[in-house]
């Protein structure tokens, strides 16, 4: 039959994508692993030989390692909590009948399409600047001393910026999930006189649990990699150095490639742990 023919054709058609991605994954991965076992300083002597696991132990014992883990966790967890909680509320709000729903949706989604360097810079300069920023004007209007956002409240600043970028994503996905909710069930509960809070807790929230999980996992993967928002605001100063940013500094700024590569391997392991959970959910949906 034609199946044999189409099977082999199918294989040839998949090949380019698979080969490209395989190369994209394996070549740099092998190189990172290779460098991670070397003392490699491109600007100060180049390849200085094998050092075993020294880079790995040095990376985790350096004074900036644990703070960077704490910063990463603070950023990821705060943004997740903010975006999921506000996202659920916003999705519930947007699901209700109103005039101009389409326009409101567009307004809410817009921040997601703003490139990270732009959103970080407009927040930093036009809102959080302690002299001319809009927030400083607001603080002064209430007779308060404006906050030095970037230095005194550096983490909250970055959390606000990143949450603003990701809230639309969470809202959009949760709204899609709410809209697929079976209306009859809600109506029945309404007729039975279930108060709104109970309806939310026993019907809407369980229905949303899967969408919330997906939002949490996907955002975690992107949030672990937050880069531009730190790069153009604090540059990693004032306690905003995440694990990704620390590795970036080791590799490109101080050109200690061996040490940075060991850090890279840790980051890859961390991301893979998160990815495993996501893949399980996505995989279930494929059958």
């Amino acid at each position: 039959m034609a199946t044999q023919h189409s099977r082999s054709a199918a294989r040839i058609m998949i090949a380019p994508a698979v080969i490209l991605l395989l190369g994209w994954m394996l070549v740099p991965l092998v190189m990172t692993l290779y460098f991670s076992f070397k003392k490699y300083l491109p600007l100060r002597g180049g390849d200085l030989g094998w050092v075993g696991f020294e880079n790995y132990s040095r990376f985790v014992t350096s004074s900036s390692f644990w703070p960077s883990i704490a910063t990463t966790l603070t950023l990821v967890v705060s943004v997740l909590v903010i975006t999921v909680v506000l996202g659920v509320l916003l999705a519930l709000l947007l699901d209700r009948p109103m005039w101009g729903q389409g326009i409101v949706r567009i307004l809410v989604i817009a921040p997601f399409f703003v490139m990270p360097t732009v959103s970080a810079l407009i927040w930093k300069n036009m809102f959080m600047d302690p002299i001319n920023g809009l927030l400083a004007h607001l603080w002064r209007a209430f007779g308060a001393e404006p906050i030095q956002w970037m230095s005194q409240a550096s983490m909250p600043s970055i959390i606000i910026i990143v949450s603003w970028q990701w809230l639309p994503f969470a809202t959009l996905i949760l709204l899609t999930a709410i809209q697929s909710l079976d209306g009859e069930q809600l109506e029945a509960s309404e007729m039975d006189g279930a108060p709104p809070v109970k309806r939310f807790w026993y019907i809407i929230l369980p229905h949303l649990s899967r969408a919330i999980t997906v939002v949490v996992l996907i955002q975690t993967i992107f949030l672990l990699a937050v880069f531009a928002e730190i790069f153009v605001t604090t540059g990693g100063a004032f306690g905003t150095k995440t694990l990704s940013y620390l590795i970036f500094q080791r590799v490109l700024e101080s050109q200690n490639v061996g040490l940075g590569s060991a850090g890279g391997v840790y980051a890859i392991i961390l991301a893979n742990i998160v990815a495993m959970f996501l893949m399980r959910i996505v995989g279930k949906n494929l059958d």
Partner: protein, 276 residues
């Protein structure tokens, strides 16, 4: 849902939703407004909202001083180039996985997804080094390749979910009528797949346009796209709010408009079909 809602309830919903929507949109609105102010008005205390002398001079200055059009060209070439290249590679792969699924199709799809989760910073130096060795550093070709590769899993996945919705019987009928594989793709499949392909292209241009790790680390002067152009405004020089706003507005306007058209595809593309 056939829930009856009073006009008053609807009015309250509308008011709250609009207030929240405008609050979330406000930073963008404020940026657009500020781009039409003079630098003096941009930092006026108290801030002026609408009643100022509207001017276009900031746009002219930004173009003149930093050659905005060059960055724009780079962004367009990189975003469109990587997307087109990705589509060309992904269509055959997604087609064969959707219509001739084998035992390993699911594993291949999951594996492709897993490559998307490789943290960029973990492979930064190897890519950097390869780029130097291959003469690709600060070149548009280099970025086209990298962005194509990082978005390829999403492109394959999106196309796969769209292709799977095309009924297989139609293809079988075409095959019965003696259509060759080539004709089957050109005359039967393509017309039905065009909307899905268009959505995929749209979302991936947006993702590539806004990508801000590789574009910042692998470019300098020549190939820098708009993400890097804006990053150059991170060290303030005197009065610059209005100019920063004009530059920002120009950098986000094209994609904001495209984004509004792709809301629905966004969910599909970024959740890998896990939320419908």
């Amino acid at each position: 849902m056939a829930r009856s809602v009073t006009t008053r309830g609807k009015a309250i919903n509308t008011a709250i939703a609009w207030a929240v929507g405008l609050l979330i949109f406000f930073p963008i609105l404020w940026t657009i407004l500020t781009s039409f102010k003079t630098e003096g008005q941009a930092i006026a205390a108290p801030p002026v909202f609408l009643f100022f002398d509207w001017t276009l001079e900031n746009y002219a200055i930004v173009q003149e001083r930093s050659d905005y059009l060059r960055y724009l060209t780079n962004s367009i070439i990189i975003a469109c180039g990587s997307t087109v290249l990705g589509i060309i590679v992904a269509i055959p792969a997604a087609w064969s996985m959707a219509f001739v699924p084998g035992r390993r199709t699911k594993d291949i799809l999951m594996w492709m997804l897993s490559t998307k989760m490789l943290p960029a910073v973990g492979v930064l130096y190897p890519i950097y080094l390869l780029f130097i060795k291959l003469g690709l550093l600060d070149s548009r070709a280099g970025l086209v390749i990298v962005l194509m590769l990082i978005n390829l899993p999403i492109i394959v996945w999106m196309l796969y979910t769209y292709f799977r919705e095309i009924p297989g019987e139609i293809l079988e009928a075409a095959r019965m009528d003696g259509a060759s594989l080539k004709n089957e793709i050109i005359y039967v499949l393509t017309p039905m797949a065009v909307p899905g392909i268009a959505s995929t292209i749209l979302l991936n241009i947006i993702l590539a346009w806004n990508e801000a790790f590789w574009t910042l680390n692998l470019t300098a002067a020549k190939a820098a796209p708009l993400t890097a152009f804006i990053a150059s405004y991170s060290s303030p020089e005197g009065l610059f709010y209005a100019k920063l706003s004009a530059a920002s507005t120009m950098a986000i306007a094209p994609i904001l408009i495209m984004g509004w058209f792709s809301q629905k595809q966004l969910v599909r593309g970024l959740t890998f079909g896990a939320v419908k």
